[in-house]
Symmetry: C2
Subunit: 113 residues, 2 copies
């Protein structure tokens, strides 16, 4: 699946992943890959700038730590981020139900449910 189609929903995904616990960038990528059965395999060039954006927006906060001599930047969801996530969720439901009205409906007879 072309991850490209994420357009506009990447931030929501990142917030959703961080909702279940703080993670560093590399782990976020793995979490997305695992939880989506490999369908979301996002490159670092997509994730890191997105995290920066979210931090600038105040939706996440980061702190450095060193593990095995490797520097990690761990991100956690802020209160504002939690609120933003709630908004993203309702926005997603609205979006998916609206688009679904056009694309999920009219399933040709014989198609599996």
């Amino acid at each position: 699946m072309k991850a490209q189609a994420l357009h506009g929903h990447l931030d929501a995904l990142l917030l959703a992943v961080l909702e279940q616990g703080s993670l560093h960038g590399y782990a976020i990528i793995e979490s997305l890959r695992n939880r989506s059965d490999g369908q979301l395999d996002l490159p670092t060039g997509t994730i890191y700038p997105a995290l920066r954006r979210l931090e600038r927006a105040g939706h996440v906060a980061s702190s450095w730590s060193t593990v095995n001599g490797r520097e990690r930047r761990t991100y956690r969801l802020t209160d504002a981020g939690r609120q933003a996530l709630a908004g993203e969720r309702s926005g997603w439901r609205e979006f998916s139900s609206t688009v679904g009205r056009f694309l999920d409906a009219d399933i040709p007879p014989g198609a599996p449910a």
Copy 2:
């Protein structure tokens, strides 16, 4: 709702609208608005270039007609467009189920299905 979030799915919506019958640009806009209860109110600057793209791609074909002295360009779905629509539909299901796994899940207890 910010129609901006359509990113990447507009073509599919247009094809889906035309699936139910040929329409001219202005009528397509109205059809989207009506069938979405006013949630999709797309400006002409979004629709017309998109229809051009679809025509260039061979997914729709157009023909001019004059009604009440007003020129209309009516679009109809081609066979290739019908195939493309099928592909868009399966892509949409994959996309929505993948993103939904992150955003629909974890609905706090008490939320309506």
